[in-house]
């Protein structure tokens, strides 16, 4: 190798040169509102449009778009900036930092709790309110004063369905638990399930760990059926969980099955089909809720997709947008002499929006919502539904059981 150019400094120079070539490609010229432009505000959203979690992200995207359609045009006008946060922490971090370069008043997202632990501190340090539509893990609002959520934490929702199962079959004793060990939500949820199983004096006969990438569950099912359970409790996501349910039924299990909130989605119908029938599920959202706002939301959803049962993720994303918009409206009303909000300094607007958001009460598709000062959601209604599949076995609905909401105030 007769090479003269082996000098470290030169190669370093070359790298720097290459880097500087990349700089203009970054192409980020923050579109600051130009002085006397239209007083419209920007709302950022980081959701998973690619990767494993895109199943969640595509539901959320629809919810945000419906909310934009419903509220974006009302005063104060709000624009939605949607960025793909991928299904990993790095992509979410980049998407969020990208949005922070824009004059966003608040952020919605990210799709996964793991991502929230990575990106929310950044937004919090920047003083930008983040409202999580789907992070249910323990510890999310505690990340910082600017972090809050509309997704009820798993500890509130999960125990209800076990209690409901007990009411349906007072004789049940032996419980088998399954959970997807590589999913943060499911691992948090199963802890709550297991606690409430024990506290009801039931006998936890086996705990099976599965993975969200698994598609064949014969082995863990065979292992758990050996213990003759009369209740099976599953914490998983729609795909793997739906498969698990189908295979459990095909292997001949006849007893009750409780599934966690991760499977609270019409997406499961396609997976477990007629075997979905009878599943018990505690919900933070029910399409059957009989309130004007929910009927409006369901109508919007039906217009967009032709189906009348929006998934919970869609409802929660819609709600997140709605809450932020209504908090802005409230803030606008408080402005002396009707100054447009856009004339306020961005940092001040974000701070006021955050406190306005946390003090309001909202009538949403999820029911009446308010927040603790910390940013934890206080949801009035929870539901326990039982899946009822139609005769074709292709689609079904979540039929509400009598409202079991405990006193949460």
């Amino acid at each position: 190798m007769g090479l003269q150019l082996r000098s470290f400094t030169l190669q370093a120079l070359a790298t720097a040169g290459g880097l500087s070539l990349l700089l203009p490609l970054g192409g980020c010229q923050p579109s600051r509102p130009s002085g006397a432009g239209k007083p419209s505000l920007t709302l950022g959203a980081v959701i998973a449009l690619t990767g494993n979690a895109s199943l969640i992200g595509q539901d959320q995207r629809l919810g945000l778009e419906l909310a934009q359609q419903e509220y974006g045009g009302r005063q104060p006008a709000l624009n939605l900036r949607l960025e793909d946060g991928g299904s990993d922490e790095q992509t979410a971090t980049l998407a969020l930092r990208r949005l922070l370069q824009e004059p966003v008043v608040a952020l919605i997202g990210p799709s996964l709790s793991q991502q929230a632990f990575a990106v929310d501190p950044i937004a919090d340090r920047a003083g930008v309110p983040v409202l999580a539509p789907s992070n249910t893990a323990i510890g999310i609002p505690e990340i910082g004063p600017f972090v809050s959520r509309v997704s009820a934490p798993v500890s509130k929702v999960a125990p209800l369905s076990i209690q409901a199962a007990r009411r349906l079959n007072p004789k049940l004793q032996r419980v088998a638990v399954f959970f997807a060990q590589d999913d943060a939500y499911s691992t948090s949820e199963t802890k709550i399930f297991q606690q409430s199983i024990r506290s009801l004096g039931l006998n936890l006969v086996t705990v099976q760990r599965t993975s969200t990438a698994d598609i064949d569950f014969q082995k863990p099912i065979a292992d758990s059926l050996k213990n003759k359970p009369d209740l099976i409790v599953i914490s998983a996501l729609p795909n793997d969980g739906g498969n698990l349910v189908r295979q459990i039924r095909e292997m001949g299990y006849k007893g009750l099955i409780v599934v966690g909130n991760g499977m609270n989605s019409p997406n499961i119908y396609a997976v477990c089909q007629r075997y979905c029938d009878g599943l018990l599920i505690a919900q933070a959202y029910s399409p059957e809720t009989d309130t004007p706002i929910n009927q409006r939301f369901v109508a919007l959803f039906k217009q967009a997709t032709g189906s009348a049962s929006p998934p919970q993720f869609t409802a929660q994303a819609f709600t997140a947008y709605q809450v932020i918009h209504q908090a802005l409206e409230q803030l606008q009303r408080q402005q002396a002499n009707g100054q447009p909000l856009a004339s306020m300094s961005l940092a001040e607007l974000r701070r006021q929006l955050n406190s306005s958001m946390l003090t309001g009460t909202y009538a949403t598709p999820l029911g009446k919502l308010k927040f603790t000062p910390q940013g934890e959601v206080i949801q009035q209604e929870f539901y326990v539904a039982q899946v009822a599949m139609d005769t074709t076995g292709k689609t079904g609905r979540f039929k509400l059981l009598s409202n079991p909401a405990p006193d949460l105030r």
């Binding site: 090479l3 150019l5 082996r6 793909d84 992509t91 930092r97 929310d120 990340i143 060990q181």
Partner: protein, 302 residues
């Protein structure tokens, strides 16, 4: 460019170098994400569970980060010594798969252990820097140091031994090169680089979990080296910077983003089979340098 992106690009370059080091002596090891995950876990555990490291100020002391780096380097180094002895007898794709197996075993074990936080991982990792710029400067210094190490390595005896093994292992052995030790050296260095990179990444990402070292990461980091070029350390650095930035630069194409990204990975090696950075291209660039870049005297070959 946004400073956060720059930090991730620099981290990508470091990981590229970690894959590059064993490849310099012809060893296709994909263990980098595993050691990266270990480094991150060490940092996450120490900084969240050891109050003594937190210092008294509002930010986490950089000295503590450096200490974490030392401990992570020690742990990954020792592990690499032991594992390297076992796996470096394997060749080609067998070595690649054996290292992927290690990464996968590590991921599953991390998921199952209580103290690593399972799937949620460890969060609330304290921040040594208030801004991404701080991380950028720190990581840049780290990258410069590692580049300098690689550069020294390429010019010294062990480095030349590595190149000889890559070209022809039998011939290298017959010239009296201790091939086993040389390969092990490259493997251990690779692990150290990945481990300390994990420490920085854990602080930068605020949280850490098992997913951060998985099969996808193994293959992506390999792409850094292949697309950048594996004949000089500049290749993986450039590949790491470019391929980490690319999906971000492609955001304007929206839903087509990852399809275009895939097309770049597909077409890149077809157009640049030796990688983007080759010695020939560097030489050509050097010949056309502007006059002000002339060195006072040509130091010639070593």
């Amino acid at each position: 460019m946004e400073a956060g992106l720059l930090v991730q690009m620099l981290l990508g370059a470091l990981l590229g170098l970690s894959v590059y080091l064993p490849l310099r002596c012809g060893q296709l090891s994909l263990a980098t994400p595993g050691f990266f995950a270990i480094g991150g876990t060490v940092a996450a555990l120490l900084s969240t569970r050891v109050p003594a490291l937190a210092g008294s100020g509002s930010t986490y002391p950089i000295a503590s980060v450096l200490l974490e780096m030392v401990l992570a380097a020690l742990l990954t180094g020792v592990l690499a010594l032991v594992l390297g002895r076992m796996v470096l007898r394997l060749r080609g794709i067998y070595l690649a798969i054996a290292t992927i197996a290690l990464v996968e075993i590590l991921r599953v074990v991390t998921l199952n252990l209580e103290f690593t936080g399972g799937a949620v991982g460890i969060f609330g990792i304290p921040q040594p820097f208030q801004s991404a710029e701080g991380y950028g400067a720190f990581t840049l210094v780290l990258l410069a140091l590692v580049c300098w190490m690689c550069d020294r390595l390429e010019k010294t005896r062990p480095g030349r031994a590595m190149a000889a093994i890559r070209d022809d292992e039998l011939a290298a052995a017959s010239q009296g090169i201790n091939t086993a030790d040389t390969k092990l050296l490259a493997f251990v260095l690779s692990a150290l680089v990945a481990g300390i990179t994990g420490v920085v990444a854990a602080h930068f990402l605020n949280s850490w979990n098992a997913k951060l070292g998985n099969f996808d990461a193994s293959i992506t980091t390999l792409a850094f080296v292949v697309l950048g070029g594996s004949r000089t350390w500049l290749g993986p650095v450039f590949g790491g910077l470019l391929l980490t930035a690319l999906p971000e630069l492609l955001r304007p194409v929206g839903d087509l983003r990852l399809i275009v990204f895939g097309a770049v990975i597909l077409v890149g090696p077809l157009i640049f089979p030796q990688g983007l950075i080759t010695l020939e291209r560097l030489q050509a660039l050097w010949r056309r340098r502007p006059p002000w870049l002339a060195l006072p005297s040509n130091r010639g070959r070593r």
